[in-house]
């Protein structure tokens, strides 16, 4: 595995791989996300108790799911950056953090908008909601720390350590609804895929939700790939490989 991974420590190799991967994420991503959204928002049946309002789940669950997923991705990049001191990994932290922060913000916002008509409140300091808010602040903290130092590599190291410590919050978010009693209900997805005899969601609702989750993953990944390539180019623009590449592309 290391032999296979090693070439990508070189920014040039990562840049070329990203260029190749981007269309495979961007195009299916947009198509699948559109299908998922239209299917969920227009064609899935209404819920027996929440009526049409439950449809916000098709945005809320995917964004919350990948807010945590991309945090784990960022933490893996941070580990490579701190231990192996690979520059490309440092830039990957910077590429992922804003995307993850926006996903977290979407989940918090849709959660509030959903909570008002259904629960009767925009916000409640219950364990799940609070832990997700902390996730948002962790993303912001990583970005702020990265930019806070004169020397960029020092900033990357500090941000990487914060990102790794923040991993502790991820199981807390997931298990908060099981460890403590909360206003937020337990996980629909976990129950839907682990309990076949008594599914927590009717299949005609579950399928568009799974499609939306896949769509969110692909589109967000495409954004991360784009951002990472930008970061690479920004720092390597004076290198010969970047110069020849840019000349070739602008011809």
């Amino acid at each position: 595995m290391w032999r296979w991974l090693h070439p990508y420590a070189k920014p040039e190799a990562t840049y070329r791989l990203n260029k190749k991967l981007l269309p495979w994420f961007a195009i299916p991503g947009v198509v699948i996300l559109t299908i998922g959204m239209i299917w969920g928002l227009a064609f899935a049946p209404p819920d027996y108790q929440q009526g049409e309002s439950y449809r916000i789940i098709f945005v809320h669950v995917p964004s919350a799911f990948w807010a945590m997923g991309f945090y784990m991705g960022m933490a893996i990049a941070a580990l490579s950056a701190v231990v192996w001191q690979i520059r490309t990994a440092e830039w990957a932290i910077l590429a992922i953090a804003p995307v993850g922060a926006v996903l977290t913000l979407i989940s918090l916002f849709t959660g509030a908008v959903w909570g008002k008509p259904m629960w009767g409140t925009w916000w409640e300091w219950d364990a799940r909601l609070t832990a997700q808010l902390i996730l948002f602040f962790l993303y912001l903290g990583v970005m702020a720390l990265y930019a806070a130092f004169e020397d960029e590599r020092t900033g990357a190291k500090a941000a990487g350590i914060l990102a790794l410590i923040g991993v502790i919050n991820i199981p807390i978010i997931h298990y908060s609804v099981y460890w403590w009693n909360t206003l937020h209900q337990q996980s629909t997805i976990t129950q839907a895929i682990t309990r076949f005899e008594k599914p927590s969601m009717a299949p005609e609702m579950l399928w568009p939700l799974l499609v939306s989750i896949l769509g969110f993953l692909l589109v967000s990944s495409a954004l991360v790939i784009l951002r990472l390539n930008n970061e690479i180019l920004k720092r390597e623009v004076r290198r010969p490989w970047a110069q020849t590449l840019l000349l070739k592309e602008n011809r």
Partner: protein
Amino acid sequence: MNPRRKKRLAVIGSIVGAVAIATALVLYALSQNIDLFYTPSEIVEGKGSEQTLPEIGQRLRVGGLVVPGTVERLGDSLHVAFRLVGSGEAEVIVEYEGVLPDLFREGQGIVAQGVLVAPNRIVATEVLARHDEEYMPPALAKELKGIEHVPPSQSGYGQSDYKNNKGGN
């Protein structure tokens, strides 16, 4: 792995490990305070290993299921009273004046915030609905669970003047 990387991995590993243990201890120590609400049996029988009872006059939240057949309206007003039950047998009575959330119904989970006025009686200032993680179309819900959801504004809860929810039984 060369020794310098090994050392960095060990250092970052111990930092994360130490913070994780610290967080776990803090959360464990605070676990009773992190709970958003008391369950009915925690109010009646006490909470935690020491069975501490909440005091009369204490502001608290209680969460449980609305006991079917206990929702009563006071005359033609917005005053309602109903009983809540948790996993145990203990029940508490909740009094509330205000608009109930649309998801409120008998058998539904709710969280009420208010003041404990008697050992098993709460005068609530806010009632929130707490739905479960199950989603299904109306027809399936009727078939599987026998539930047909009617928002509280359209259901005629009996105007029985708190006959059954009087006093602190």
